[in-house]
């Protein structure tokens, strides 16, 4: 590697450290493979990148792509504990010392520490000897002092068989598991604040998601549906893309209001939504249902209501935000960037026919009795048959009207 001494150092690599998965014995291989695929998918717009992986690290060669832009994408990929912009030199002590000195000279820190790690134990010097060699050169060339407790510059050196990576700083990743290692779940995406957060938290644990949304046109508008698609788009980046199923819910909803007591309308509507979600989930190979219910937030989310609603299905229902305060959920939604879209005021299935006095402690037998008053099974079938499915990408791929832009 030849470098002009006066050119600023170019960090041409990104070193990626794996997250929690480092501890997962025999599944580790699958985890790494999945993470590798997810990273490549997320970075697919940056075509010049090339990748290398070892048993505990992944290296992204920038090849001229913008390191900062790549870093911004990496921050959202689950399964990464941290990553650093790095410079690669040959694993020769002269090269390591020379580059260490240059990095230090370019930095305006007053104190430093060298942190060497040898993954290749055959390297002729032990880590501490490398530390001393590089530190010695820096002490000679600059006025910096060593501070092992609170250094302003922490220079990390990782020595591998043929190449050595030098880096300063460490960018925190999103943590969690690589999306996909934990199977798949069906998220009930309403368009409110809570369900996108629930979707995010589910993906964070390595579970891939599809979404189901209930639309009741003409009572709910096309704008409301666009809003839901936009929310799906906003969280889709965490797993690459999202499949969303739009269920035509109008007829079933009208039948509920025709045949059931007003106070039970929401309870029964939710029971119907659960039934549809379960059947759709099975059809799509999803193992669980996820929603944004939070205990006690509204009448249908009391523990009593949850029990009555949940009783119609067998599949596990995950409620990632069940025990969070509204304000905690809002904080997360703002962090995700979904909050502003979520609060756009469009009618959804749950708001159009809101009863004046919804029951907060419904009884199962009452709900079942009301459901016997009409043939909901055929209406459920109609809903399932009328589903429209869409694929949502993180960056809206709209080629229409390209001539205008």
């Amino acid at each position: 590697m030849t470098i002009e001494p006066n050119e600023p150092i170019v960090y041409n690599h990104i070193l990626v450290r794996f997250g929690e998965l480092s501890t997962k014995g025999k599944n580790k291989k699958d985890f790494i493979k999945r993470l590798y695929t997810n990273v490549k998918n997320a970075l697919s717009p940056y075509q010049k990148l090339t990748y290398e992986r070892t048993h505990d690290r992944m290296y992204i060669l920038l090849n001229g792509e913008d390191g900062e832009a790549v870093a911004n994408v990496l921050k959202n990929v689950f399964g990464i504990s941290s990553f650093s912009l790095a410079i690669r030199v040959p694993s020769q002590i002269e090269d390591i010392v020379a580059m260490g000195k240059r990095v230090a000279m370019e930095d305006d820190a007053q104190t430093f520490k060298i942190d060497t790690r040898r993954s290749d134990k055959r390297f002729p010097m032990i880590s501490d000897e490398v530390n001393r060699a590089v530190a010695g050169a820096i002490l000679k060339a600059t006025s910096m002092k060593v501070d092992v407790k609170h250094p302003q510059l922490r220079l990390q050196i990782e020595i591998h068989e043929t190449d050595t990576y030098l880096m300063k700083g460490r960018i925190a990743g999103s943590g969690g598991y690589p999306v996909g290692v934990g199977g798949k779940a069906m998220v009930m995406l309403s368009g409110g604040i809570d369900s996108p957060v629930a979707a995010y938290l589910t993906m964070k644990r390595g579970v891939a998601i599809e979404c189901v949304h209930y639309a009741s046109p003409p009572y709910t508008s096309a704008r409301a549906q666009e809003k839901v698609l936009e929310l799906a788009r906003m969280v889709s980046g965490y797993q690459g893309h999202i499949r969303i199923h739009i269920v035509p819910f109008t007829d079933l909803q009208l039948a509920i209001y025709e045949h059931c007591d007003e106070s039970y309308a929401i309870t029964i509507m939710r029971r119907m939504m659960y039934r549809i979600a379960e059947r759709l989930a099975k059809q799509q190979g999803a193992l669980a249902i996820v929603n944004g219910e939070s205990i006690g937030q509204v009448a249908s989310q009391t523990l009593e209501s949850m029990a009555v609603i949940n009783s119609v299905i067998q599949m596990p229902v995950i409620r990632p935000v069940a025990a969070m305060d509204k304000l905690e959920i809002i904080t997360l939604a703002k962090k995700l960037g979904t909050y502003e879209t979520s609060i756009l005021p469009f009618e959804d299935c749950c708001t159009i026919f809101t009863p004046k006095n919804p029951v907060t402690k419904p009884a199962i037998d009452k709900a079942e009795k009301m459901e016997q008053r009409f043939d909901y099974e055929s209406l459920l079938d109609q809903c399932l048959q009328g589903i429209t499915t869409m694929e949502i990408d993180p960056i809206a791929k709209t080629e229409e009207d390209e001539e205008y832009f």
Binding site: S221, A222, E226, E340, T398, D401, E403, Y404, F405
Partner: protein, 376 residues
Amino acid sequence: MIYFDYASTTPVHEEVLNAYIKVLQNHYANADSLHNDGRKSQRLMEKSRAQTAQLLSVSAEELLFTSCASEANSLAIKGFALAHRQRGNHIITTRVEHSSVVHAMEQLEQEFGFRVTYLPVNRDGSVDMNALRQALCAETILVSTMYVNNETGAINPIEEIAAIIHEQSRAVFHVDCVQALGKLSIPLSDIDMATFSAHKIYGLKGSALLYKKRNINLLALINGGQQEQGLRGGTANAPVNTVFAKTLRLALSEQTLHNQYVQQLHDCLCAELSELPDVQIQSNKNCVPHIINVAFMKVGSEVMLNALNERGFAVSAKSTCSSKSKAHSYVIAAMGLGEIAATHSIRISLSHLTKPEEVDALITALKEINHDYRTK
């Protein structure tokens, strides 16, 4: 007519015009209507906003479409001042601003009792930084300066000004970037509000943009519906706003190339002008090459304009927006170049569309006029 007045306005780019005609014909529905056609208009406009934001490296919700740069300047200055009166009573601007800024400031002084400091400029036309440091005080809520002066092309060191303002005060910083867009890079991360216009970069008239950082609140000046976050009422001019992104994209994509070409024209023109007797070139190294301000000390501005017009050349003296008032440039006067220069200046503005032979023809005409019409 040979056109040398690109700083006043530019001809519309063919691609922009074609796109505009199509959008206007096909997507005329009100962008706030809830039907499919309305939502289509809205989507097109919002896509333009998003792409414009991307080109400027800001967020879409930080951009407001307005009908012209004067409106954007008024909204930024009056809208901010009136919304933050409780915070302080002092505003800073410069002596060489565009009339839309000057008159907004005067209104705030005369009708609303604000105190306004008009900073002097150096001989090269840039803001006097020491005067800025001295003027900033606890009462200052807003500083507004232009990036590139419309009469001389003088460039203000925007990043330095921003650093001083943000270090010494709580004031927000508004920059009129109209003459800088498509010529210089715009450091928006240092700026709180900025004004841009489409018709100076080969776009449509009636099309401008106010950038404002998310945390900045303004008082609406045009009351109406929910358009532009409630800050600018009136049915959205969706077709015009839809082609803003294309206009900007085209302008930025060839910025470097065009700048290099214009610089060559500029150097050639200046070399010839400096040979003429009684001529003072008032644009300098600190100016963009697109604008050349020059005083013919023996030929008044108006006479020069008329003579050039007769020979088929379109140029301006001072800002076109105050062209109907008497022939005295407050910008040239503020630079300390003297009273004669202030009444004897013209502004020649160049473009990548200008041909070298047009510059030659202009030089010949100027030589003749400078000789034939000179006062004794």
